[in-house]
């Protein structure tokens, strides 16, 4: 199991429980996330507190999810970002368009 899902009020919180979110597990994680999200879920909080490393494949999953939610008027929020994942989002300018919060609680 790469993800754990909880519902807090109207926010679906999905915790990614891997240290490295990369080409080796991105397909499984993408499937798990997509399974958890329905059209009614307008706010999705992705908990990255366990993730130490994201590569371009992991990044592509975040982008796909962001676009899907945006298309249905939803919002993607990332929380608990460690150094490398946050720096990667900054370098790709994604931190400007994807909402990022410190705390996952």
């Amino acid at each position: 199991m790469h993800t754990t899902t909880t519902l807090v009020r109207d926010i679906k919180k999905i915790k990614i429980s891997v240290e490295k979110f990369d080409v080796s597990n991105m397909k499984d994680i993408k499937k798990s996330i997509e399974r958890e999200i329905s059209r009614r879920d307008k706010r999705v909080l992705l908990d990255f507190s366990s993730v130490r490393f994201v590569d371009s494949s992991g990044l592509s999953v975040i982008i796909t999810l962001f676009k899907k939610l945006r298309a249905i008027g939803g919002v993607l929020i990332l929380c608990g970002l460690n150094h490398q994942p946050f720096e990667l989002l900054k370098m790709t300018q994604l931190h400007r368009i994807i909402k990022i919060v410190d705390s996952c609680h």
């Binding site: 080796s24 490398q84 720096e87 994604l94």
Partner: protein, 130 residues
Amino acid sequence: MRHRLIIDSKIERLDSVYRWLESLLKRRNIEYDLIQKILFVSQEITTNAILHGNRKIPTRKVYILLNISPKRVVLNISDEGNRLFKIPTKKQATKLDYLKECGRGLKLSVLMSDRVVLTRGNLEIYFNIK
């Protein structure tokens, strides 16, 4: 100091490259931020070598050479394929379409390193130590 690692063309082997590099770079007291950049670039280039260079044929090898000197870290990654590809310039890499879902790895590698040189299938990536 030079270090060498040879892996089979399997995605599962990427983690061993990551651990190997992380351990060597930490032992040489390389700055944390630079280590993260080197790990990202090595992951992208090695993935590319496995998937596109060696076309996931497990018997084909990927060769990773790490050279650490006081002023810079040089990573040399080569595979057994014969594909042709172009390295984007820093200027091209800066024009990154961040919402495009593929082709981002090589551009990010160029942005995160100080120089990328392609010679006869070998990719040599330079990182200056400040």
